[in-house]
Amino acid sequence: MAEFDCEETKALVHEYLHNELRPEDQKDITTHLALCDSCEEEYDLEVNLNKAITRSCDEDPPQQLAEKVLDFIRKSESN
């Protein structure tokens, strides 16, 4: 079982969040976070930052864009 210290845990927080670690490493980080307030706080911050980014990027495309794209394609096909 890999033992992650605080520095390693903080460095891997993104990979942990995005589920990019090997399952056993993912598990070890979970354990570390449960036992370490400082790392858990860092984790919470990254989670909140992700939430903030996601809520800020919620623009819908203009309504007619799909029609415009299809018209454009039909037009170039008939040329």
Binding site: E41, S56, C57, E59, V69, L70, R74
Partner: protein, 219 residues
């Protein structure tokens, strides 16, 4: 058949009423396939295009151009593989070729080699703020501020942050979309988020979202 027809009427009819020409059955099928599979992914493409171009009208143009290219290349798309990543990849190339000729500028090439201090080190900027205060400020910042701050970080970082965080693309797919190794995706994600955090902390401090560190401890 329609090709002969097209050639026969080239010019006059195309200018006035192009839609009266009947496309061939094969073309009809291709358009229908594309409409059913690719068009529903357009909102995601538009979201990414906004991050590339930084404004709605250029984003619209970029999506339209990328979709037109995707349609032309439609036969090359392998059914069953990740269509969204395939479309993103086309859009990346379209953007780099037509909207961002400067991408080949050697002075822009070394971004990943820069040290943190050259990019502005987030740690030193946020060090004066307690993390719990920063955490709270993040929840209270207006979306507009976060959106604008994201547009301020370098493009390569911004796109990786967008694809990983908003789109939830796995690193391997981001690497494919961006045409970089997975290691570069990782470091761009880390540094992009760090820069963004620094920008937001700075804004929060200026605007009084982070008044003083002791604030939370007084009560």
């Amino acid at each position: 058949m329609s090709v002969v027809l097209d050639q026969a009427v080239t010019g006059r009819l195309l200018d006035s009423e192009p839609m009266t020409i009947q496309p061939s059955k094969a073309t009809e099928d291709k358009i229908r396939d594309f409409e059913q599979q690719a068009i529903p992914l357009m909102p995601q493409l538009y979201g990414a295009a906004l991050r590339w171009t930084r404004n709605p009208s250029d984003a619209e143009d970029l999506v339209q151009e990328a979709m037109a290219k995707a349609f032309v290349a439609w036969a090359q798309y392998q059914q069953g593989t990740n269509l969204k990543a395939w479309l993103y990849r086309i859009m990346t190339n379209t953007h780099i070729n037509s909207y961002n000729k400067k991408a080949k500028d050697p002075s822009k090439g070394g971004l990943d080699d820069l040290e943190d201090w050259q990019l502005g080190d987030a740690k030193s900027l946020t060090a004066t703020t307690s993390r719990s205060a920063e955490l709270e400020a993040l929840d209270n910042l207006p979306s507009e501020v976060i959106r604008k701050s994201l547009l301020e970080i370098p493009e390569e970082f911004r796109m990786v942050v967008y694809y990983a965080v908003v789109d939830g693309l796995p690193y391997a797919e981001i690497a494919e979309v961006m045409g970089t190794p997975v290691g570069t995706v990782m470091s761009r994600l880390h540094r992009g988020k760090k820069l963004l955090r620094a920008l937001l902390a700075e804004y929060a401090r200026e605007q009084g979202y982070l008044s003083t560190e002791t604030n939370t401890e007084k009560s």
